[in-house]
């Protein structure tokens, strides 16, 4: 993965038909990795993606993708980027192999290479013999995979995925997310993935950008989060003050949560300390649970005004 800034916007603004302000004064820098672009429906995610591809012209401000201006250098940008649209975009009466090969050629791959890359890419996204059947007979999950394959077939440096888990059942969602994670890690291709479900992508992303009403809410790298240690929540029936004091004596970092004590998990010995402390104080231990740091921590200060941010708030509540 070449280390260039994936996307950079400066006071970016996009207004549709004099009426709807889809992107409003957005300034954000997106670094390589797997980036979650999070926001409710209508927050401006798809608009930002289309601006990045040069499919739309900004009303004001500046956007650069892989160091290039998609408005002026559209073809160069689009040669290095793959795009998976949100909605259905496959012809039903053509086979996946044929269609992806065709798009590979439209991306500039010579005939033989296009055919080879198409079947290889379809295999990587999990389509084997069925790739010779017409797309019309595919399940939603298979169609999403074909859409993903066409975004990858020309081996881009960056793929922009617009709601890749749309319309999938839970198992399909998990499989798609695993694929997206593999693209970012194994394939070495940077990913910007749009979703309105924060909870879903926080596991696979290296950074998150949250937008709402076309404005930036928050942009943060998750690497800082993963460096932090995990937490243990310890719940006892009474006198957790004494327990907290005892644990602090043992050199364990403790703070008080809503209903339980939150203990930094430094290593295996932390469990021993808790066991000893609870036994010494003769308390009964109700619950000992390991918590991963929640991405929700990043978004704790989001405004939760009204329905537009509901789904982001939902995810936070998890």
């Amino acid at each position: 993965m070449r280390f260039v800034i994936l996307m950079e916007t400066e006071s970016l603004r996009k207004r549709y038909d004099e009426a709807v302000l889809a992107i409003d004064d957005l300034t954000v820098t997106i670094e390589p990795g797997i980036v979650g672009l999070v926001g409710a429906n209508g927050a401006g995610k798809s608009t930002l993606i289309k601006l990045a591809l040069g499919l739309l012209e900004p009303t004001a401000g500046r956007i650069r993708v892989l160091g290039l201006d998609p408005g002026a250098d559209g073809p160069q940008v689009r040669a290095r980027v793959g795009y998976m649209p949100e909605h259905d975009c496959l012809p039903p009466d053509v086979s996946a192999a044929e269609f992806v090969t065709h798009l590979a050629r439209v991306s500039g791959l010579p005939r033989a290479a296009a055919r080879e890359r198409a079947s290889e890419t379809l295999r990587h996204v999990g389509l084997y013999e069925e790739r010779y059947r017409p797309v019309g007979g595919y399940s939603t999950g298979m169609k999403q995979r074909v859409k993903l394959a066409q975004a990858l077939v020309h081996d881009p440096e960056l793929v922009l995925l617009d709601e890749p888990t749309n319309g999938l059942d839970p198992a399909g969602r998990a499989a798609m997310l695993e694929l997206v994670a593999r693209i970012g890690t194994e394939f070495g291709i940077s990913v910007v993935v749009c979703t309105h479900l924060l909870g879903e992508i926080e596991r696979i992303c290296t950074s998150l950008v949250a937008i709402d009403g076309g404005r930036l809410l928050r942009s943060a790298s998750l690497s800082t989060m993963t460096q932090q240690r995990d937490l243990l929540s310890v719940e006892v029936d009474e006198d957790d003050v004494a327990l907290a004091a005892r644990l602090t004596e043992l050199g364990v970092s403790v703070r008080r949560g809503e209903r339980a004590l939150l203990v930094d998990l430094a290593g295996e010995e932390t469990f021993d300390h808790i066991r000893d402390a609870v036994a010494d104080l003769d308390l009964s231990l109700h619950r000992l649970e390991r918590h991963r740091h929640q991405v929700a921590d990043l978004f704790r200060d989001l405004p939760a005004d009204g329905a537009s941010t509901m789904e982001v708030s939902d995810a936070r509540a998890r």
Binding site: Q76, A79, P85, E98, V106, S107, D155, R182, E186
Partner: protein, 288 residues
């Protein structure tokens, strides 16, 4: 993926490979779009059902041409000239653009394919031009195939040896020019109309309506009017417009254009230019 231990037929998953082969330029991309469009026009690479109409129409004109050749070789004079073939089969060609034009253009709109194309290095103008070129080539084939059959038949039975063949070849080339004019005119009418809607049925209906509804106007104007009005009546309908321009250019079109031949020529040019520009404009505007 688990690997099986048996010695034969093991597929090793060597993981994702980066592509570092050649990446060809916009001209190649446009050519790929063009070739794909031409294949789509005749339903190649797709189900048998999509081949029926275009290939059927193509077969009909070929068989008709074959019959004409057989009859012509029995007579001292061919029953139809090459220009005569173009005017005779213009109605079939019109039906062909009405069916195939929407197949090329509306289908992409319907299936939301434009975001996939426009997110690649090809430009919107490239896309519009390749669609126009693909349809024009397909229509040209419909015009030219019967001429080719006619030429082969007449050249093989030419009584004056190589001189007769060359003579026939000259007429054939003029016929091809006429075919090209017809192909460009009909394409320039069909593509902008088809680009208005993703519903193929509507697009086909619009194109057929344009050809069908203007025909009686031309007929009525030609019948009731006299002189200039009758001679200009053909401008209204694409098929008679084509006959008129053939009359002007080749003196063979079966219609009376009087001194207004150049007007027919100008109108054909104007329609072609407008159709091509509107197609380009439409794809520049359409949201992807």
């Amino acid at each position: 993926m688990p690997e099986h231990g048996d010695a034969s037929g093991v597929i090793h998953d060597i993981g994702y490979q980066r592509y570092d082969g050649p990446r060809l330029g916009r001209r190649y991309m446009a050519r790929s779009l063009y070739v794909h469009g031409l294949r789509t026009a005749f339903g190649f690479g797709r189900s048998a059902r999509t081949k029926i109409l275009p290939v059927g129409l193509f077969a009909v004109v070929c068989v008709a041409a074959l019959v004409l050749v057989v009859i012509s070789t029995q007579l001292p004079q061919p029953v139809l000239s090459y220009i005569g073939i173009a005017t005779t089969f213009a109605t079939v060609a019109a039906l062909f653009v009405a069916i195939v034009g929407p197949e090329l253009v509306s289908r992409d709109l319907r299936n939301n394919l434009l975001p996939l194309y426009f997110s690649r290095p090809v430009t919107r103008t490239d896309y519009a031009l390749t669609k126009l070129a693909a349809l024009a080539t397909a229509v040209f084939a419909v015009f030219a195939a019967p001429m080719l059959i006619m030429f082969l038949g007449l050249a093989l039975s030419a009584p004056h040896g190589i001189g007769g063949v060359l003579d026939e070849a000259g007429k054939f080339l003029v016929g091809l020019l006429a075919a090209a004019i017809g192909a460009v005119l009909f394409t320039a009418i069909a593509v902008p109309l088809a680009a208005l809607t993703g519903r193929r049925v509507f697009a086909t209906g619009m194109i057929i309506a344009l050809f069908l509804l203007t025909a009686p106007i031309t007929a009525v104007l030609g019948a009731i009017g006299s002189g200039s009005l009758a001679q200009l009546a053909g401008l209204v309908n694409p098929v008679s417009l084509l006959s008129g321009v053939y009359m002007w250019l080749f003196g063979d079109g079966g219609v009376d254009v009087g001194a207004y031949g150049p007007v027919y020529g100008l109108v054909v040019l104007a329609v072609a230019a407008a159709g091509i520009s509107l197609s380009i404009l439409r794809f520049r505007r359409v949201r992807a």
